[in-house]
């Protein structure tokens, strides 16, 4: 499934780029994120809870950042699995300066899900993913003041 969209952050591009790779910030802003620990260079272990229609479950996974081109773009690779199935995502995140203190973050990628979440929740994944992404950016925007 393709996923794409764009959101604005009230941050300059350099700050926005750093914020989006700061585990402490991310952990606070990602909906359902229970922990996010750095495991290596641009690699994190993540635990999150996700609810999709009648299916609720915990996912354990890996987040990896690749092809990092500060401050313009990076690739985000997410893999998670839990009792209700698995998900895999791979997408390109591009940051462009909209105004001195405003950055547009555009993303474009592929998401695959399997197991129960695929057989039960497929129709809702698109909407749920968009909602989660919006919440993430809303929270990040609200925390903009705290970002170095």
């Amino acid at each position: 499934m393709k996923i794409s969209g764009a959101h604005k952050l009230p941050l300059g591009r350099d700050r926005a780029f750093r914020a989006m790779q700061d585990p402490a910030v991310l952990a606070q802003c990602m909906p359902g994120c229970e922990s996010l620990d750095r495991t290596g260079e641009d690699e994190y272990a993540m635990r999150m809870k996700m609810a999709l229609a009648a299916v609720t479950g915990q996912f354990q996974g890996k987040v990896r950042i690749a092809d990092s081109a500060f401050p313009e773009s990076f690739r985000l690779i997410v893999e998670g699995s839990g009792k209700v199935g698995f998900m895999k995502g791979d997408g390109l995140v591009r940051l462009t300066e909209a105004a001195p203190d405003s950055t547009e973050v555009a993303f474009d990628g592929d998401v695959h899900v399997g197991g129960t979440i695929a057989s039960v929740g497929q129709r809702l994944i698109d909407g749920t993913a968009k909602l989660m992404i919006k919440r993430f950016f809303d929270k990040l925007a609200a925390k903009a003041a705290e970002v170095e």
Binding site: S81, K83, G85, V113, G114, G115, T116, A118, S119, V120
Partner: protein, 779 residues
């Protein structure tokens, strides 16, 4: 051939009587016992860990955390069960590739839902929690879910040992198709799909296994259509002696072919009970049912039909791509061969060529689903005949009437090697045309079109193969058995090997027995579904319950009637005794004795007629000399909403000829249920896998089984052309509605949209698909 359009029986006869089903009170008052209702002392519960991947290597199965949970008795993986025999495939074809089907995956998984491990606990919720604690490490592999993509160069191999994904190629031909096509004025070609369907019985599968350690015997309770075959096969898988294995089939909440099978779980529960020494219950969840119980259909058909300009059909070609799924279940590869057998339909042409390619995909296996194989064939033929009619600008009724096999041509040998038993194919069509006021409908259609409305009239004239079947044509014997016991009081117990599960034989068989013995229908009880009580039987599928099980009962009754007469002669001291109406009467003196008196005397045995055993019991195993071939005509009127693509079925006229009718109420019920499932395929249902082999329609929220409000009023009518194959003249009706329905509905909708240039539509006809077709027509 005697044919009548109404039931010609005497008023007092029980044959043809509209009796209410005697099994219904317990079903509709919650008194019936299904597998999940069975409670045994010390019952334990199993939960199965299943693969979320369509193709993956299983690197590691860690059961430690699960096994350590309080209440968990055992956890087994594929390593533990690999010596259990494979899930059986009963069908054989030349060169058939049969993958070894372990009951739990060993090393690799092949479809989403593939069982990997099983947890047994004293509490079912603990079992479920523990199943979640089993850690399975997978190495994901590329998967393929579409049969045409699976055939393409470079497609992922479902089974690495067969990289072309082909399980078998099957060719059949009759006549001279090349000559027929060379001679033709017109050839019409069309790709037609019959999408994968999920059978969706109300009751999912369920198994209770009870190993009696002291006796070293196993009882398996299973919701199945074939208790005796299941016993034979599960005993084989578990290396148990057959006589120490007992299968009990309690109430079955719908089978439709998906319980005409032997599943991994049936042997697995036996294994688990034997290992733990506990009775173990497994009840399939709806999600498991959608993922792991067989699906139906899964055809991509390339049809070609050749004809003369006057509409005379000369021949037909078919290339059939069958989506088999990852494994062969009991009859998987045999199902598409039925489509080829049925290719001539009701038509006289004798030139046919067909090629089947059976393709492995990373999906749950396909197998028999109501109408299996014949519905797909009928859909293709009836669409092709309509396409031909459109090409030649002929009326669809006219082209059918022109090509029907004529009544005097029976028995009719088809190009596919069948011998049609009896028929008058114009009879139901003419009746349907009359009841629906076909001429009037066409006039209304002209008016509707003038008013800008999209109204369609469509029909199908179907034939089917029922009464499976002569034993040489079946994998496991095609006969059926019956035992009749007349108890000392004269009450009658019938044991049928047919194991009915919703077809109403507890009523129809009581009617047959009561009719033959001249007693009240309430004096007969019909038992089935326990291998320790009932003599070996084959089961109910392929519209065979009454058509094969009924004659077995009839002949057992004839044996008893002869015995009753011998007792009557002895008791009335006369050689001129007749038995009728439940009474033996001496034709000389008028003295008589009742059936109860005869039965009492036979059991008391103070005196016996010459060469006659005491007691009053007979068993008959009946081998049918041929299949039966029911037929019929369905006419469907639809109205399509231009703006939304919504289809409304405004009239549904079904005229079915299933031979002699024993109980018209039950026959109508079978037609209604069949139509519901045919309509489901035509308009709503589709099992959808994504490119990675994930089942997207995995719940009733995403899989549209028709609800009561989506059903049209079915005007069910009949003609009766008795079958000469059996003494009852019956043909079978379990699948007729499903087979006749979908082509009639699709033909009707195509007819509605034909003015927009629409020529063909593939099922399901969802509003989105129809709306797009309307837009395309406008452009």
């Amino acid at each position: 051939m005697a044919t009548t359009t109404t039931t010609p029986t005497k008023t007092e006869s029980l044959i043809g009587k509209r009796l209410r089903r005697r099994e219904d009170p317990r079903l509709i008052t919650g008194n019936a016992t299904y597998v999940d209702d069975i409670q045994l002392p010390g019952m334990h519960y199993a939960c199965i860990v299943r693969s979320p991947h369509a193709a993956a290597n299983v690197k590691k199965v860690d059961i430690q955390a699960a096994a350590a949970m309080p209440g968990v008795v055992a956890v087994f993986t594929g390593e533990d069960t690999k010596d259990v025999g494979p899930v059986p495939c009963g069908a054989s074809l030349p060169g058939l590739r049969v993958p070894y089907h372990h009951i739990l995956a060993v090393g690799r998984v092949y479809f989403v839902g593939h069982p990997v491990a099983v947890v047994v606990a004293a509490d079912k919720y603990v079992a479920r929690d523990a199943a979640e604690a089993v850690e399975v490490e997978y190495e994901e592999l590329p998967a393929v879910a579409d049969p045409e993509k699976a055939l393409a160069e470079g497609a992922p191999a479902v089974h690495p040992e067969w990289p072309d994904n082909v399980s078998f190629n099957f060719h059949q031909e009759g006549g001279d198709c090349a000559a027929a096509f060379a001679e033709a004025d017109v050839v019409v070609k069309q790709r037609i799909t019959s999408q994968r369907l999920i059978p969706t019985p109300m009751e999912t599968r369920g198994v209770v296994a009870d190993w009696k350690t002291g006796d070293r015997s196993l009882i398996v309770y299973s919701s199945t259509q074939i208790p005796h075959l299941l016993r034979t096969l599960v005993a084989g898988m578990l290396a148990l002696p057959e006589h120490k294995t007992r299968v009990i089939t309690p109430e079955v909440g719908g089978g439709f072919g998906c319980k005409l099978n032997v599943y991994a779980e049936e042997a697995l529960m036996g294994f688990v009970s034997m290992k733990t020494g506990k009775p173990v219950k497994w009840i399939e969840s709806r999600r498991e049912n959608y993922l792991c119980t067989i699906h139906g259909r899964g055809h991509v058909d390339y049809f070609e039909i050749a004809a003369k300009n006057d509409g005379t059909i000369l021949g037909m070609k078919l290339k059939l791509i069958q989506d088999l799924g990852a494994y062969h279940q009991l009859l998987t590869p045999a199902i598409p061969t039925l489509s080829v057998l049925m290719m001539p339909g009701l038509y006289r042409f004798r030139n046919i060529t067909a090629d089947i390619v059976g393709v492995f995909t990373n999906c749950v296996p396909t197998d028999a689903y109501r109408g299996a194989g014949r519905r797909e064939a009928t859909h293709g033929i009836e669409r092709m005949v309509d396409l031909l009619a459109a090409e030649l600008k002929m009326d669809p009724a006219e082209i059918r009437l022109k090509n029907f096999i004529q009544p005097e041509e029976f028995p009719f040998a088809t190009a596919t090697g069948l011998t049609y038993d009896s028929g008058d194919y114009a009879l139901p069509l003419r009746k349907a045309l009359e009841i629906s006021d076909y001429t009037g409908l066409r006039a209304k259609q002209v008016e509707a079109r003038a008013a800008g409305r999209l109204m369609g009239v469509g029909m199908s004239t179907y034939g089917e193969i029922c009464a499976f079947g002569p034993s040489p044509a079946t994998p496991a014997g095609g006969w059926e058995s019956a035992t009749v016991k007349i108890e000392p009081s004269g009450k009658v117990t019938v044991l049928t090997g047919a194991s009915p599960h919703g077809q109403g034989e507890e009523t129809t068989f009581a009617q047959i027995a009561a009719e033959e013995l001249g007693i009240d229908v309430d004096d007969v009880v019909v038992l089935h579904g326990d291998t320790a009580i009932v003599q070996y039987g084959i089961g109910t599928f392929g519209s065979r319950g009454t058509a094969v099980g009924g004659p077995a009962l009839y002949y057992a009754l004839q044996e008893l009637k002869a015995k009753i007469k011998r007792f009557g002669e002895m008791m009335l001291d006369s050689s001129d005794v007749s038995f009728a109406g439940g009474v033996c009467v001496c034709n000389q003196t008028g003295r008589s004795c009742t059936l109860a008196e005869v039965a009492g005397a036979a059991h008391r045995a103070m005196k016996l007629p010459p060469k006659t055993e005491p007691g009053m019991q007979a068993t008959y195993f009946w081998e049918p000399p041929n299949f039966t071939f029911p037929f019929g005509a369905h006419i469907v009127v639809t109205e399509v909403d231009r703006d939304t693509g919504q289809i409304e079925v405004t009239r549904y006229v079904a005229v079915d000829d299933c031979g002699r009718i024993i109980n018209p109420l039950i026959v109508d019920g079978q037609v209604h249920g069949g139509v519901a499932q045919g309509l489901g395929q035509a308009l709503y249902e589709q099992a959808v896998y994504d490119d990675n082999g994930q089942l997207l329609s995995g719940e009733l929220t995403d899989y549209a089984v028709p609800k009561a409000t989506m059903m049209p009023w079915v005007e069910s009518h009949h003609t009766e052309t008795p079958s000469p194959v059996n003494p009852l003249g019956v043909k079978g009706v379990g699948e007729a509605g499903t087979i006749g329905c979908s082509p009639a509905v699709v033909n009707s909708v195509v007819d509605a949209l034909s003015q927009l240039g629409v020529r063909h539509l593939d099922m399901p006809l969802t509003p989105e698909k129809i709306w797009n077709a309307i837009q395309g027509g406008r452009a």
